[in-house]
Symmetry: C2
Subunit: 399 residues, 2 copies
C-alpha cells in the first residue's frame, strides 16, 4: 500500500545526506555522503523485508523475492546529485519505487540505484547502468578519474569499505523489464496541468572534451601580436559554437558546463583551457550533423591556438517500449490519474537499460522545470500520484 | 667584490626551492617553499656578516650596517613566483643585490625581498612594497584571501612560525633611495644587443575583478530562450573586451588570466563566472579611457546575465629619478658596459618605492622576452654585468 506521507518524509530525510545550506543537495557519486544515503535506504528496505546487494560498479539492488525464480522486474533511478543539485532528481525514482514494491509478487522485484548517473564527479555519467547493460567497457569505467585524480576503482573500494555488510553480486544479468520514475526536469506537464507523464523516448546526446593549447606569457610585456592566448581563443570558440547551435525552434540543447584555465593567474596569459560540451537533440540526423561540425568550428575560432576535440559519448535518440506505455496509460486511467505522453529532454539510465530489456519511464512535474539547482521542487500530491502509477505497473509486470 | 660564478650558482640553488619538473619554479608568496628560500638567503647574508629582519608584512631585509646612522639604501626585488614561473623573475634582483653589497659603507645598505609581488596567490600583487610605502591599507592587505580561503594574516603567521629566529621590525621608515635590478621581461635589450638597461619608468596598470551572474539550469532540458548562461555571457564579454583594447600599434596590454566557473559541471548551465582583467599602457590618458570603458562593455555583452565590475588597483605610469638614471649611465660607461634607457612594460615594487624615495631600476636581457614561464632564461655574462653596475651604484649611493 503506497503511503504518500512516508514517501514525502523519506524524500526529505534522504536529502539530509549532502544537504546544502541553500536547501539543495551535493551528493557526489561514490562519496562517503552517498554511502551514508545508501545505508539509510538499505535500512528502509530491510524494514519491508527486502534484501540488499551491490555489484562491481556499486549499483545498489534492494530485492523482494518472487514466488517463482524468474528474471526480476527492475524499478529505480539514482541517488547521486550535481554539486548544486536538488532533493528530487534521481532520489524520487528510487524512493517511489521502494514505496511501490508489491507484497508477494510472482516475479522477483528489485529497486535499483545506479552508480554515477550525473557524470559531474566522473565524466561521462550513467556509468552504472551503461556498465550493467554492457554498453561501456568496465576497465575503462574503473580507470576514470575525478578532478582530484581519484579513480572510479578507488572510489568504489572506499564505498565497499563504508558498507562492509553489503554482498557484491555479479554485474548484469537477465532483466524482465525496467521502469524508471523521475521528475520531468521540464515544464511540459506543469503547463498542461497534468500530474503524470508517460515517456515515449529520450532525446539523443553527444558529449565532448575540448583542449585549447596556447602559450603562457607575461601580461605586462608580451605584445598582442606574439600571444597565443588560450582564454581568448576558447571565448571565440564558445561564441562560434553558440552560433553553430542557434535554433529558432529552440529544440537544440548546447551547454559548456565545465571550463578550466591554466595556470589561472591574473597576470599570466593562459596557456591552456579545457572545456566540456553537452549537445542534445531528439532528431538523430540533426544531432549527428551538429556534433560533427564541432571540431572544425572550434579549430577555426581558436587560431592561432591549437585545438583538440575528443568525443566522450554518443547516444542516439531512444524510443521506449510501446506495450509498457500502453499498459501505463490504461493503469493511470483506472486510477483516475490524468497522464500525458511526452519525450524526455534529459538523459536517464533507462537509455542503457533499453538496450537489454523493455523499458519505460514515468514523469511527475517539477516546479517551473527548475532542476540541477537547489530550488528544485515537487508537490506531495504529484509524488504520491507517481508512486501510485508505479505501484500499479509493478504489480502488473511482476504478476 | 662581485663574484659572477657565485651569483650564478646561487640563482640555480635558489631555483631548487619550488622547482618544477619542467625546469620552472612554483614558489607562492608566503608559502612554506618561499620560507625555505628565505632561510637559504638569510644564511648567505649571514656568511657576509649581514643581519636579517622581517616586518609585519613579511618583507625580508638583510642589513649591512653603515659607518653612520643614516636612512638606508634599499636594493632588491622579490622571490615569490607565478605558478608556472621561471628561475630569474624577482630572484635575480635579490641575489644580484646580495652579491653587490659594499664592504664598509658610510650609509647602511639593506637588501630587500618584498612580499607577494606577483599577485598570483593573493591579488593584487606588490603587497609588501605597497604596504611599506603606505600606499595600501594594512588591514585590507591582511584580510586578502587566496583561492583556498587562507588570509594573508594566516599565511604571514605560518611564515613567522617557519622562521622563528627572524626579528620582526616596524613597517616602513625613512629610505635614502631604492634600486631594483630585474630581468627585462621583453625583447628590447636583446634586439638592441645591449647587456644593460637603465629604466626610465613603468607603464601604468589597472586591474579588475568581474563577476557574471547567470542561473544554473539542466543542460538537457532548459530551453535556450529561458537560459541565463554565465559562461556564454563571459565569453561574449571577453571577445568584446578584446575588440575594445585592439591596438594597431600593439602597445596596449590586455589579459584575462584567471577565469573560474560555478558549479563547473558538464551538464549544468553555469550560474556564475568570475574573471580577472589586467590592463596596461604607458600613456595615462589611454589607460584611463580604456579602463573606464570596461564596465559598460561587459554589461552590454553579458546580457541577459548581470555583470559586476570591481576595480582592484590603479597605478598610473611612473617616471624614475633622473639623477639616479644619469649616475648609472656614467657608472656603466666607466665599467665599459653598454646600457640603453628604456621603459618597463611590467610592473615592479619600484612603483611604490618611488612614492617615498628616489628610485631606479637596472634591467638585464632575458632570452626571447620569455617570462612567467618555465623556459625563462638569462646568461651568466649578463647576470654578472648587471651585478657589476648594481655594485658600482650601491657603492656610490651609500658612500
Amino acid at each position: 500500500m503506497v503511503d504518500g506521507t512516508r514517501l514525502w518524509q523519506r524524500l526529505q530525510s534522504l536529502a539530509q545526506h549532502g544537504a546544502r545550506a541553500d536547501g539543495g543537495v551535493d551528493r557526489p557519486a561514490l562519496s562517503p555522503t552517498e554511502a551514508e544515503a545508501k545505508r539509510t535506504i538499505i535500512a528502509w528496505a530491510a524494514e519491508a523485508g527486502m534484501s540488499a546487494r551491490t555489484d562491481p560498479l556499486g549499483n545498489l539492488f534492494l530485492r523482494r523475492e518472487g514466488l517463482e525464480n524468474l528474471p526480476p522486474l527492475l524499478v529505480g533511478s539514482h541517488i547521486d546529485s550535481q554539486p548544486t543539485g536538488g532533493k528530487y532528481d534521481g532520489a524520487y525514482g528510487v524512493l517511489a519505487a521502494l514505496e511501490a514494491v508489491p507484497e508477494a509478487p510472482r516475479r522477483p522485484v528489485e529497486v535499483v540505484a545506479w552508480t554515477n548517473e550525473e557524470g559531474s564527479r566522473f565524466a561521462p555519467g550513467m556509468m552504472g547502468s551503461a556498465g550493467f547493460a554492457g554498453a561501456r567497457d568496465i576497465a575503462e569505467i574503473l580507470a576514470c578519474r575525478d578532478a582530484d585524480g581519484i579513480t572510479v576503482q578507488q572510489a568504489l573500494e572506499a564505498t565497499f569499505t563504508a558498507l562492509p555488510k553489503l554482498p557484491i553480486g555479479p554485474l548484469g544479468g537477465a532483466v524482465h523489464a525496467y521502469l524508471e520514475p523521475h521528475i520531468e526536469q521540464g515544464v511540459v506537464l506543469e503547463q498542461a496541468g497534468m500530474p503524470l507523464g508517460i515517456v515515449t523516448g529520450l532525446q539523443g546526446k553527444r558529449t565532448f572534451a575540448i583542449t585549447i593549447a596556447g602559450e603562457a606569457a607575461h601580461a605586462g610585456t608580451a605584445p598582442r601580436a606574439t600571444r597565443r592566448d588560450a582564454l581568448l581563443a576558447a571565448a571565440r570558440a564558445a561564441t562560434a559554437l553558440d552560433a553553430l547551435t542557434a535554433d529558432p525552434a529552440d529544440i537544440t540543447r548546447f551547454t559548456i558546463g565545465r571550463f578550466t584555465v591554466l595556470p589561472n593567474a591574473p597576470s599570466v596569459v593562459p596557456e591552456q583551457v579545457q572545456f566540456s560540451i553537452d549537445l542534445r537533440h531528439p532528431d538523430a540526423a540533426t544531432l549527428l550533423r551538429l556534433g560533427d561540425a564541432i571540431a572544425a568550428t572550434i579549430a577555426a575560432a581558436a587560431q592561432p591556438c591549437a585545438a583538440r576535440t575528443e568525443e566522450l559519448s554518443t547516444a542516439l535518440p531512444s524510443r521506449f517500449d510501446a506495450a509498457m506505455q500502453d499498459d501505463m496509460a490504461a493503469l493511470a486511467q483506472g486510477l483516475g490519474l490524468p497522464a500525458l505522453r511526452l519525450l524526455s529532454m534529459a538523459g536517464h539510465d533507462s537509455r542503457f537499460l533499453a538496450h537489454i530489456c523493455p523499458s519505460a519511464m514515468v514523469f511527475i512535474p517539477c516546479l517551473g522545470g527548475v532542476t540541477h539547482h537547489p530550488a528544485e521542487s515537487i508537490t506531495p500530491a504529484d509524488a504520491l500520484a507517481g508512486a501510485r502509477l508505479v505501484a500499479a505497473a509493478m504489480a502488473r509486470w511482476s504478476a
